[in-house]
Symmetry: C2
């Protein structure tokens, strides 16, 4: 088994930004390959549930509306988003019933957000038929405004905020100190490349929080579950870092055979960044509209033991479902197919290191609360 | 040129209910074949604009929220829905600015609704990039609840409410007096068939109004533009009636050749009903939550003159974009293709009668207002 630690969603529609997960319900679909994202999200569930229960003042949230409004930012195509939203509704209902046992339960409206190229058709067709909420889809980047002022009560975003709004500046510029020659990510790259990624991510998170500060009612909650990296650790030490380095070296080998140019590899960079908790806290604390209620790091693959190993074929299938769209935008289909085929072979050769690296705390959760003032 | 008077949308996902317009942006798409729906909607525009301006009390609508919420029920895939929503926003903005010249303009949120099988992906990708509203898609039947209590200010529904939620009772039952043998619609059918259609339509409109009564704030507005028929007129006299009769006779001819069975034709009925204004008024007045502010009938093809004629090839293309999905659900692809090919020939033979019938008032609009009490 494997924790893929790939995104539940990819969010901007920029020319050089990420592209969404595979749509539909077929064998290559994200819908059928998001089991590990589900497990990853569940690891932190108890802590998050407790924070919501403790902090959400249902009475004050309902002071100006009879409806509780939730949003999943970066929902992809399901089914994980349905479980996550229902879970939050259950928590709110329980709290409400214990506080106001004789009052009727409020109505819920859930907004499913992802970029406009996400497969909303699949999402809408797979909505739970007996859901206890009014459902709506919201297309657009969550790094900008998506909702009216003070209209949301709980915002949830799982495995989405590590996707940058665009490829950081300078990576594809030969004259920049951040030129990322022969790499597709900042793993094992020069310090300037790492800094370009970190800066872009911090700017994006800041944009995210500024937009949410306007949209979330005072007392409202943001839950973030994200790919992470322990403070002070290098990305090349993580399983995904090893994988990105493998991908780059396979692409360079293909370039040596003349099937693509080295420039094509240089011009391809994955817009994803795993923030160390200290960096997340720094950006969040700079934003005066939110307080960090609780946070934590975890290992998303607690089941990996000496007896349970990664199935590399399955692992690469999951990676493909989430990421192949980004490769197809830059490389011909046969190049991408070969890259993923070779990836399975290369990763199998380093499976011991990969499994060991998956025991790191590469997932973090943060629960923020919108201040009542400001 | 031709007014197709086919639906802007088809709304229920029942086994025997209608299926949506063609999605995507290709040559067969509804997106590229909805020009006539646009013209049809524009005919009544001035009257509707005036009613909204006169009746909408923007101040009272904003008493509990800083956001004006609009919904287009049966929006299909665009682009007409974008024009219609922007037009209503412009009216509200003008009224607001004249009433409160120094106040900031409120925010707008627009909900685009259609059945879950509608092509929301195309709708979302074609949203105006510089829109002045927050957009959301809402999948589901508008004959049931779609939105929280008192959350909407203006509801718009154009060329959608003539689609029934399901095929009326008895049409496909040999032992029923409403058995619709050899027909695919109530045009030229026995009185019992017409009555079954009328009853289903009245029940559906009643469900629609009951759901909206809960969702629309007191003082809020519903705009309905719908296929209609002058009181007392028979559907077989209308151009669409002639067309449905042609379709049935082509299908029966194909059955005679043994390619389909006569039972297959008997079991196929188009779930669409054109309400005479008196019937619409009767249902609306029965609902105590709404008042009819204004209404009117019009001829959606005022440009049809002695010099301007219907291009039957173009006409049939428009009909196909809106309706072929329904036929494909019941008949093999080659049967449907042949039916539409023959349709063009048959309609060309009666083009004089068709054009003359298109000068009837087969479009109606209704503006209803949600009462402040009840």
């Amino acid at each position: 088994m494997a924790a893929t630690v790939v995104s539940d969603s990819i969010l901007r529609n920029d020319a050089d930004g990420p592209v969404p997960v595979n749509g539909g319900l077929g064998t290559d679909s994200y819908y059928n390959h998001s089991f590990f994202q589900k497990i990853a999200a569940n690891v932190a569930k108890d802590m998050i549930d407790e924070a919501i229960t403790k902090k959400l003042d249902v009475k004050s949230l309902l002071s100006s509306s009879s409806t509780i409004r939730l949003a999943d930012l970066g929902c992809a195509v399901g089914p994980n988003t349905f479980d996550a939203m229902q879970n939050i509704i259950d928590i709110i209902k329980q709290k409400y019933q214990s506080q106001f046992p004789t009052s009727p339960i409020p109505e819920f409206q859930v907004f499913f957000n992802d970029q406009p190229t996400n497969d909303f058709n699949t999402l809408f067709k797979s909505l739970p038929p007996k859901r206890e909420y009014f459902a709506a889809g919201v297309p657009g980047s969550f790094y900008g405004r998506l909702f009216p002022d003070s209209s949301l009560h709980v915002v949830y975003s799982s495995y989405s905020l590590h996707w940058l709004s665009k490829v950081p500046k300078g990576l594809e510029d030969k004259n920049s100190p951040a030129w990322n020659k022969g790499k597709i990510h900042y793993a094992s790259a020069p310090e300037e490349v790492l800094r370009a990624y970190a800066t872009q991510w911090a700017n994006d998170l800041n944009d995210f929080l500024n937009a949410r500060a306007q949209e979330i009612m005072p007392g409202g909650i943001i839950v973030v579950i994200t790919h992470s990296i322990p403070d002070g650790m290098e990305y090349a030490e993580l399983a995904n870092g090893m994988m990105y380095n493998c991908m780059a070296s396979i692409l360079l080998d293909i370039a040596k055979r003349g099937l693509i140019s080295e420039e094509q590899v240089d011009a391809f960079n994955l817009p994803t960044y795993a923030p160390p908790p200290a960096e997340f806290v720094s950006v969040a604390e700079n934003n005066e509209c939110f307080n960090i209620v609780t946070m934590g790091e975890s290992n998303p693959s607690p089941w990996l033991t000496d007896d349970v190993h990664v199935d590399m074929n399955e692992f690469v299938s999951h990676i493909r479902a989430a990421m192949e769209g980004m490769f197809f935008k830059h490389f011909a289909r046969e190049i991408v197919n070969e890259m993923f085929e070779q990836l399975e072979v290369k990763l199998s050769e380093i499976s011991v290191e990969m499994e060991s690296a998956y025991k790191d705390k590469i997932q973090a959760y943060y629960v923020l609360q919108r201040n009542y003032s400001g």
